[in-house]
Subunit: 359 residues, 2 copies
């Protein structure tokens, strides 16, 4: 077990706490393979141990780190920063800072996760704020969409940072050499949209940043795979991601209804079985759960609060893949290289600015 | 033909002009039935007549109103207002003002359509700005989502107006007695989101407006049908709508791929044929084309610029249904009733304010 990768888990985060985190860990360990991964579970010791008894597959690879405090879903980030020390979320992130774990995974309060991660791990390469990136399956491959919820409002400079982070992420994780980048808007003409996107568009076009920028893209360009990286503010990105998930779920329902609507349909479904299963797998929202927080000196992955065990296992798999890929070192190199090209970028080692309190 | 409903069409609007508008009119006339509808086609007479020769079904129900000017897709609303008089878009809306047509349909420049419609038809019931509403198929029926693109930014007062308009629309068009209303956000807790949505949430909760307001909803609540009316700003709504359309298109592609991947899959698809066709129909983006501009003294329907003939026919069908339903009178009654409850609502007959120029 000495060369296995260690992942810390905020077992109290999310709607279901240890009841999802523990079976999620069991599933992930099974998928990743024996001896390759271990988990540190932070949270209520009694609850976690009770779940571990039910899931021997998890028990073999998990270590419990008891802590009493939990950050509530509706706690404000500023409050979470003041009062959160010693909580399951705080300690899971701290394990990354102290190099006990290669990555932390939490399904808890997004604003608190961002603020605490930023305080403990600091930003890399002079960047200002973290962004959560979603890897979106498209007709042409995988498109990285960011920010999908770490920030509520983003000015032009932040959108620019998202472009830089997203580009580095796509290189590191999806193996592209020179990803194309687009800015999400309501139309493709330069004068469309609000001031922030128009200003970011102008800078991306005119500045000497070494990014393959393709201009504005629209909502339907995401699934088309028009570009490799779609940049947007956290409000719009979060709504777009959840809308797409809702649409995919709706479609699965339509499929189920249609294929049970008549005996012919049922027969057809039986005969086309493997094809239908492939469709269900490609449309399974839990298969894309797990959004890394980009821009930090360390790996932190946000899982959906409502994820089930399968979804949580997927977030753990994302964490494992990132940790195993040497992604952190590569993204750090890219960031430093690219941040140097940014006008007015601060020194990489500056003090962490005060976290936002507006979400 | 004397009691047929007349619809004016901006035949030059959209990416394809008369090449889509004319076959669209033919399809719509066929679907609506003989003697029930006539179209006034505004635009380049030679181009339109050439298309009419190819589509005898349209020729029988269309009247050509030649005009030379066309408003470009990238023209700013202020410029369109100054220079647009006599254009196909302008004249199509004017036909509604002069009661030659019961509704106007355009696939042209959204900002110009909004500004020109507002100038000519004025707002109803003291409302400030129009909103485009999308009728979104959900697991529980149809949810009205607005604004999906008439405005770029919306303050709390405008979001409130959208709630009022959307509620009236859902009553009038989808026949509900007391629609439930939600505000689109990135979470359900009261402190989530930016200032505009939090303020609108507070007013909707605390004001005495007679609306069945259910609080914040998230992107995946749209397709779930959690509420009947989803209120959002035009930027977010536009991105959400197009993202859902893109997702639906992606899924159709996944279906096609899967059902042609093996001989079993092909056989299954043949046997399940009618069920598969039903799925395709429910996921056809053109089947939901046609977004009414709410809040005006008159019916104006926006069609997607990229719609094909089938999609354009659907926008014409929406226009026909609205005109035939007496919706205009009902929404006007609802608006006046509800606007009276709004703090600081102006008189219904005030002069039209200067149109926005920021899109």
């Amino acid at each position: 077990m000495s060369d296995s990768i260690v992942i810390s888990i905020d077992a109290m985060g999310g709607d279901h706490g240890p009841a999802v985190a523990v079976p999620g860990a069991a599933l992930a360990a099974e998928r990743i393979g024996p001896g390759r991964v271990r988990f540190l579970l932070f949270g209520d010791e009694a609850q976690i141990r009770a779940e571990l008894e039910r899931h021997p597959g998890a028990k073999a690879v998990c270590e419990v780190r008891g802590c009493d405090k939990v950050i509530a879903a509706d706690e404000k980030p500023a409050q979470a920063l003041r009062r959160g020390k010693g909580s399951s979320l705080w300690n899971a992130v701290e394990a990354v800072k102290e190099r006990q774990a290669a990555a932390a995974v939490s399904g808890g309060n997004t604003g608190a996760l961002m603020a605490i991660s930023k305080l403990q791990l600091r930003m890399t390469g002079g960047l200002d704020r973290p962004a959560i990136v979603a890897s979106w399956p498209t007709m042409r491959g995988v498109t990285a969409v960011l920010d999908v919820g770490a920030n509520i409002e983003s000015d032009a400079a932040q959108l620019l940072e998202f472009a830089i982070m997203g580009e580095a992420f796509h290189c590191a994780v999806h193996g592209s050499k020179r990803p194309t980048v687009g800015l999400l808007n309501v139309g493709s003409e330069d004068q469309k949209g609000h001031e922030e996107v128009r200003e970011a568009n102008r800078i991306l076009r005119e500045s000497g940043l070494n990014i393959d920028y393709r201009g504005f893209v629209e909502g339907d360009d995401i699934a088309k795979g028009t570009v490799d990286v779609v940049v947007t503010d956290g409000f719009t990105g979060n709504v777009a991601l959840k809308t797409a998930e809702g649409t995919a779920r709706f479609v699965r329902q339509v499929l189920r209804d249609a294929f049970s609507s008549s005996w012919q349909a049922k027969l057809g479904a039986v005969i086309a079985g493997p094809a239908l299963k492939r469709i269900r797998d490609r449309l399974d929202p839990s298969s894309v759960n797990g959004g890394p927080l980009l821009g930090l000196n360390g790996l932190v992955i946000k899982s959906h609060g409502s994820a089930d065990a399968k979804g949580f296992a997927n977030a753990l798999k994302v964490a494992y893949d990132l940790a195993a890929s040497g992604y952190a070192a590569q993204i750090d190199r890219n960031m430093k290289h690219l941040a140097a090209a940014l006008p007015g970028s601060g020194p990489p080692e500056g003090p962490a600015p005060a976290p936002e309190t507006d979400q």
